[in-house]
């Protein structure tokens, strides 16, 4: 069986586009003797049987990247030839020959929902001309997920490539199972895995760095290893994780590695610190010139229903306080319902309405009430 990586609809192995949502399907190499079949490629992930459906909306051409592709979004090798607005032909210059609409680059807006309870959306925003954010999400239908957001530093060259490679590498490490450990042993195992994921991400950034560049690529890193009831979050830089329980106080799980973050840690009020000069200058990142890449860890015991949110500053700049983010999430839910992909898209749209000054990435995971399993589908969530 082959499924569309974007919407999960079953598609034929040789389809180029998904009949349901129109997404480009990854080009699948013919099965080589002893190699993986087309079916294996489409449903398996780099983590083997531990994880379920991955994500791939772009089309990479080499077989090697196809094997790892479901972990994150790829960059498209061939631009679409038909205008998404008027159906006209797309000129090689990247604009429609009829209506002039700009053909979106797949890297500009990416969306995925690897399981009914997990979704990610990453968007170029308005002001930046490319999307240097990246996310990689892997999830099982049940209670395990690996969530990663990396925000490329835009003053550096090739940060869009670096952030994507970093997110992929990190998710690949996180997707494995922590086995039968429970309680503090489970938290320790997940924490170790986050550390390994950050190291893998840092190596991926280094591998994406050309020799002798003045401004080597770099990115932030926030990842969550979910193996309910435990969630371990690790951060380097200023991308964030929030826990927004339905009926309890919302919390920001991370402390930014930024000038503002240092001031907040020293007791300065958040609003004041974040408005200060150089407030957004980050003090740690992943890259060859990184001071250190050890993620700061936070462990969460999930004992009630709520949303785990990972995001880049393109979102939290408009709703830094956990309560403000929950407010947005609630009004988004009131408008579009509880499907995580719809909700993440609504939050991205909202950030764009606020000006879209930066790339915007939102990862959402709906975590369950009994602390051992996540909430099921959107219908269950709505009943709660």
């Amino acid at each position: 069986m082959t499924v569309c990586p974007q919407c999960g609809t079953r598609v034929a192995a040789d389809d180029r586009f998904c009949e349901e949502c129109g997404a480009d399907l990854p080009r699948v190499a013919p099965a080589a003797p002893g190699g993986q079949s087309a079916d294996d490629l489409a449903v398996a992930t780099g983590a083997g049987t531990d994880a379920a459906t991955g994500v791939e909306t772009g089309a990479e051409t080499d077989a090697e990247s196809e094997a790892t592709a479901p972990l994150a979004w790829g960059r498209r090798a061939v631009a679409p030839r038909t205008c998404h607005e008027c159906g006209g032909e797309i000129d090689p210059d990247g604009y429609c020959t009829q209506c002039g609409a700009k053909a979106p680059r797949p890297r500009d807006h990416l969306a995925s929902r690897p399981a009914a309870w997990v979704a990610a959306v990453s968007d170029r925003g308005i002001r930046h001309d490319r999307n240097e954010d990246a996310a990689a999400v892997v999830a099982e239908p049940a209670d395990r997920a690996a969530l990663v957001v990396c925000d490329g530093v835009s003053s550096a060259a090739d940060s869009d490539v670096a952030s994507l490679e970093a997110a992929r590498a990190a998710a690949g490490v996180l997707a494995g199972s922590a086995g039968l450990a429970t309680g503090s042993a489970l938290a320790a195992a997940l924490g170790a895995r986050i550390g390994a994921a950050a190291a893998a991400a840092a190596s991926a950034v280094a591998a994406a760095t050309s020799d002798g560049v003045d401004s080597p690529p770099s990115c932030t890193f926030v990842a969550a290893a979910v193996q309910l009831p435990v969630v371990v979050v690790g951060v380097v830089g200023d991308s964030r994780a929030y826990w927004l329980p339905d009926d309890d106080e919302p919390v920001l799980l991370t402390l930014d590695d930024s000038v503002a973050g240092q001031q907040i840690a020293a007791g300065r009020p958040r609003a004041e610190a974040e408005a200060g000069p150089q407030a957004h200058a980050i003090t740690r990142w992943l890259g060859v010139d990184s001071p250190d890449e050890k993620p700061r860890l936070t462990t969460l015991e999930v004992d009630r229903a709520g949303w785990l949110v990972l995001c880049s500053d393109g979102l939290w700049n408009y709703c830094s306080e956990a309560a403000a983010l929950r407010e947005q999430l609630r009004s988004a839910a009131a408008a579009v319902g509880e499907d995580p992909l719809d909700l993440a898209s609504a939050l991205v749209d909202w950030a764009n309405e606020q000006g879209g000054h930066d790339n915007i990435t939102v990862v959402l995971a709906r975590l369950g009430a009994d602390g051992t399993r996540p909430a099921g589908g959107p219908a269950e969530g709505a009943e709660r």
């Binding site: 210059d93 604009y95 429609c96 009829q98 002039g100 925003g125 002001r127």
Partner: protein, 425 residues
């Protein structure tokens, strides 16, 4: 190897709801080579001199010298002819019944000798001169790039305006004509109309003895145009309106009426021949609808096509934004050339008002011109304006009309009005 390049200068940011997009597109040509040097065809050159009675013997002698100076600059292997113009047109050379001669040392000498037959007599009917020139060019099928220098000293008195228009229209597309007026008794507006229709320049030669130098310069320039002809192509999206297409440097020339439809979305605007040079075009497009803030679209593809091959392309874009710090800026290039275009209009309107005795309008228009010339840094126009008006305060456009203005100074101002300066950066 001829190479063209295109660069676009614009503020692509539009405020929400806005639909008008302006851009300056600079097209540069390098390595054009010599006229007629390519394998596609030959170059043709025609020198047309006014030999009406008003020229007098001194004028005719100066015209003979000027034509000879032009002959010296025509490179061997170019088709050429000499035409004498009065109330009718006479082919002076070649005189063997053919339309044009093949330039070599022998024909150059023969042509030079034939200039001796020129004598002042008769009136002026420039349409007939142009018609003959176009006929000559068409009689030599291998000529794919024809150019003429037209010299006159007077008004087009022996031809009705509609006759001139009709003859001009028949010549258009067959040759490009640089028009020169000698002395102060010709009409700038009339010659400008001819030059504009026939894709050439217009200028004043104050004294007859300055003609030879000017002719030699014009001919050298023509011989250095190795690209026989090129079209500017403007694509605009479905439902959009091309408001105008204007050459704005080195001189202002409205190309809008020259449009020929290539397909429903693309118009072609002939630009004549090219040498190693740079020309700037102001393209304005009204899009059918504003998109949402944050959206981007293409407003125009501006291309240069030589023999139906696109050799350079610039993309004019539109990006809607709610950031007024982005949308409020006018591109300095667009602002500069908008000012230069208005400057040309203000001068021409002001001089026309002055000629008709409407001093109030003349003062207002020339005052505005003084202001614009100062704002856009056009020192040449400012210097020429000073000979026609006293500029009391350039910043506010406060001027007084001078009395006893030399007619030549007025004409010099008029012919300079469409010459633009480039943006200072």
């Amino acid at each position: 190897m001829t190479e063209f390049s295109a660069a676009v200068y614009q503020n692509e940011y539009l405020a929400g709801g806005s639909t008008d997009v302006h851009a300056i597109v600079t097209i540069a040509c390098a390595g054009a080579g010599q006229a007629g040097a390519t394998s596609e065809g030959d170059a043709g050159e025609i020198v047309i001199v006014d030999t009406s009675a008003s020229m007098g013997w001194p004028g005719v002698r100066a015209a003979q010298a000027a034509a000879a100076a032009a002959l010296d600059q025509i490179i061997d292997g170019t088709w050429f002819a000499l035409v004498a113009g009065t109330h009718t047109a006479r082919l002076v050379f070649p005189f063997d019944g053919t339309a044009m001669a093949w330039m070599d040392p022998r024909t150059r000498e023969q042509a030079r000798a034939a200039l001796g037959s020129l004598a002042p007599d008769g009136g002026t009917a420039m349409g007939t001169w142009l018609e003959l020139a176009a006929t000559l060019v068409q009689a030599v099928p291998s000529v794919n790039q024809a150019h003429a220098i037209l010299l006159t000293d007077g008004k087009n008195q022996h031809e009705q305006p509609y006759e001139l228009d009709a003859r001009m229209a028949r010549a258009a597309g067959h040759l490009q004509v640089d028009c020169r007026g000698v002395g102060a008794n010709w009409e700038v507006g009339e010659l400008r109309r001819i030059a504009s229709t026939l894709m050439g320049s217009v200028d004043l030669i104050p004294q007859p003895e300055q003609m030879a130098e000017e002719f030699a310069m014009l001919m050298r320039q023509a011989m250095a145009r190795g690209v026989a002809s090129a079209d500017l192509r403007v694509w605009a999206p479905q439902g959009a309106q091309v408001l105008f297409v204007r050459q704005v440097a080195p001189s202002v020339e409205d190309l809008t009426p020259r449009r020929r439809e290539l397909n429903p979305l693309t118009g072609a605007y002939p630009t004549g021949s090219w040498g190693d040079e740079q020309r700037d075009y102001h393209v304005a497009v009204r899009l059918p609808a504003a998109r949402a803030v944050g959206q981007e679209q293409l407003a125009a593809r501006v291309q240069l096509a030589v023999r139906d091959q696109v050799v350079a392309q610039g993309l004019v874009k539109a990006m809607w934004s709610d950031d007024s710090s982005l949308t409020a800026q006018i591109s300095p290039e667009v602002a500069h050339y908008t000012g230069q275009t208005e400057l040309a209009e203000a001068i021409q309107d002001g001089l026309a008002a002055k000629a008709s005795g409407d001093d109030r309008t003349a003062t207002a228009k020339l005052g505005r011109a003084a202001q614009l010339a100062a704002e856009t840094g056009n020192a040449e126009v400012t210097a020429k304006l000073r000979k026609v008006v006293e500029i009391d305060e350039a910043a506010t456009g406060k001027v007084r009309l001078r009395r006893d203005v030399d007619k030549l100074d007025e004409m010099a101002l008029d012919t300079t009005s469409t010459k633009t300066t480039r943006v200072r950066s």
